[in-house]
């Protein structure tokens, strides 16, 4: 390959453009994919956050309706006013079995203020008499009205409602509380969205010993030391790899945060996280969202391959066409001029250069044909003069000899 030839330079330039074009398109596709995955992750986070809010509202509504029905039961009301734990248990235990199957995992009765304490735990009747002193407890005493919200107990996080139970005289017989473990929300969310979720609880709101004890009771692995700032209360996947977050839960913005994209086996995921606030407004935990983008990723890669192939074929066809065109319009005609120039000086004075088109090369052909005619004419004159001179010289020589 001769690098001084225009043909070579044009070819090299076209291939450089081809390579640059392919690289540019690949970069553009990567950028587009990154933006799309970012959008998918954001959609997964915001969608999950909305779904979580809807589930929260729905469950609060359900627990409120149950409590409304319960407050109409005078036997329950009287048993609570009399602080008759045995009677209360007898009256409510059958209902608790049904409510538990509907997701209400916690049900408690509390004695009235000022010495508010647990009178009965339907979900753990053996444990009673303790003072919880939580935000919702203080609020229900302060407002004498229904209080709802997420409350992080020392070993778990539950959505709760607590409300006063009036006695027959118009006073307060005590308080009734219903709660649903937030962990069960994530399984419902997974069913609806297909995403995987992890409920993260901030360690600063938890008690280490209670967490270990509750892990034993619920037969779950004590995962306290898995992460620095939080524990995973529940998750919808068996994989330990996907729930990774090194930041501070309290720093997660209210609208959520999109995290990195990652690969696990043959699957690709995007991750995000949104905060979960307790009844007092503290960021007590967060929901980790994992959205599977394998199908999108595979389709994108497939499209990328097809696009790349199409572009390569188009560019190759384009390059070939440009070269063919250049060859026909320029290189072939230049070679013809060069060949004729060689033949003229080689003695062929007859072959003319025909102007094939009135373009730039055509102008050169015209100029060269004019030059050829001048050259041939001059050569004929010089040759004629030389022959004449030789004849005269020969004539003089023979005359002198005579």
């Amino acid at each position: 390959m001769k690098w001084n030839l225009i043909q070579t330079k044009v070819l090299a330039t076209l291939f450089a453009c081809l390579a640059a074009g392919v690289c540019g398109i690949l970069i553009l596709m990567q950028y587009s994919f990154a933006r799309n995955t970012q959008a998918l992750a954001l959609e997964a986070v915001t969608g999950s956050q909305k779904l979580f809010s809807i589930l929260e509202a729905r469950e609060i509504s359900k627990m409120t309706a149950v409590s409304d029905a319960l407050l109409m039961d005078t036997q329950v009301r009287d048993a609570l006013a009399a602080k008759d734990r045995g009677r209360l248990l007898e009256l409510t235990a059958p209902l608790y079995t049904k409510l538990k199957s509907e997701g209400i995992t916690n049900w408690m009765f509390h004695t009235p203020a000022p010495n508010m304490a647990v009178l009965l735990r339907l979900h753990n009747p053996a444990q009673f008499g303790d003072k919880l002193n939580r935000y919702v407890d203080k609020e229900v005493v302060r407002t004498d009205a229904l209080v709802s919200g997420n409350e992080l107990a020392r070993a778990g996080f539950a959505e709760r409602i607590i409300r006063p139970v009036p006695d027959a005289k118009g006073g307060i017989a005590g308080y009734v509380e219903f709660g649903e473990e937030l962990g069960q929300f994530i399984h419902a969310m997974k069913t609806q969205t297909g995403n995987d979720y992890g409920l993260l609880l901030s360690k600063k709101f938890l008690d280490r010993k209670l967490w270990a004890d509750s892990s034993g009771i619920w037969k779950r692995r004590d995962n306290w030391n898995d992460n620095a700032n939080f524990v995973v209360a529940d998750k919808t996947t068996a994989s330990e790899n996907i729930l990774r977050f090194s930041g501070d839960l309290s720093a997660v913005p209210a609208q959520g945060l999109v995290l990195d994209r990652y690969k696990d086996g043959d699957s690709y995921f995007v991750r995000g996280i949104f905060p979960i606030h307790d009844a007092a407004g503290n960021t007590a935990g967060a929901m980790f969202v994992v959205h599977d983008i394998t199908a999108v990723y595979t389709a994108m890669r497939q499209t990328e391959k097809i696009l790349l192939l199409v572009i390569l074929v188009c560019l190759l066809i384009g390059t070939t066409l440009v070269l063919l065109l250049l060859n026909k319009l320029v290189f072939k005609r230049l070679k013809h001029i060069i060949r004729i120039a060689g033949r003229v000086v080689g003695g062929d004075f007859e072959t003319e250069i025909k102007v094939s088109a009135m373009d730039e090369v055509g102008q050169l052909e015209e100029l060269f044909e004019q030059f050829r005619q001048v050259f041939v004419s001059t050569l004929e004159q010089v040759t004629g003069m030389e022959e004449k001179s030789e004849r005269e010289s020969s004539h003089i020589t023979s005359a002198a000899a005579d």
Binding site: G342, R343, V345, G346, G347
Partner: protein, 66 residues
């Protein structure tokens, strides 16, 4: 005969022996050596400088050492 004419004869014989296009080949040699071969005759005076150029052209075009 002159040295230049000897070279011209060599060119013509080689072209014939190799079956080359005479006009094309002579044209290439003329362009490389800088003069028309048609002007070389038996009476052409010796010109060492031109002779060297012609020999080099013969070598380049015909691949023959003159």
């Amino acid at each position: 005969m002159s040295q230049l004419y000897d070279l011209k004869i060599l060119i013509e014989k080689t072209i014939e022996a190799k079956g080359l296009d005479a006009v094309d080949t002579k044209g290439k040699i003329a362009l490389k050596s800088g003069r028309l071969l048609a002007f070389i005759s038996p009476s052409s005076p010796d010109d060492p400088v031109y002779a060297d150029k012609l020999k080099q052209a013969i070598k380049d075009v015909l691949n023959v050492n003159a």
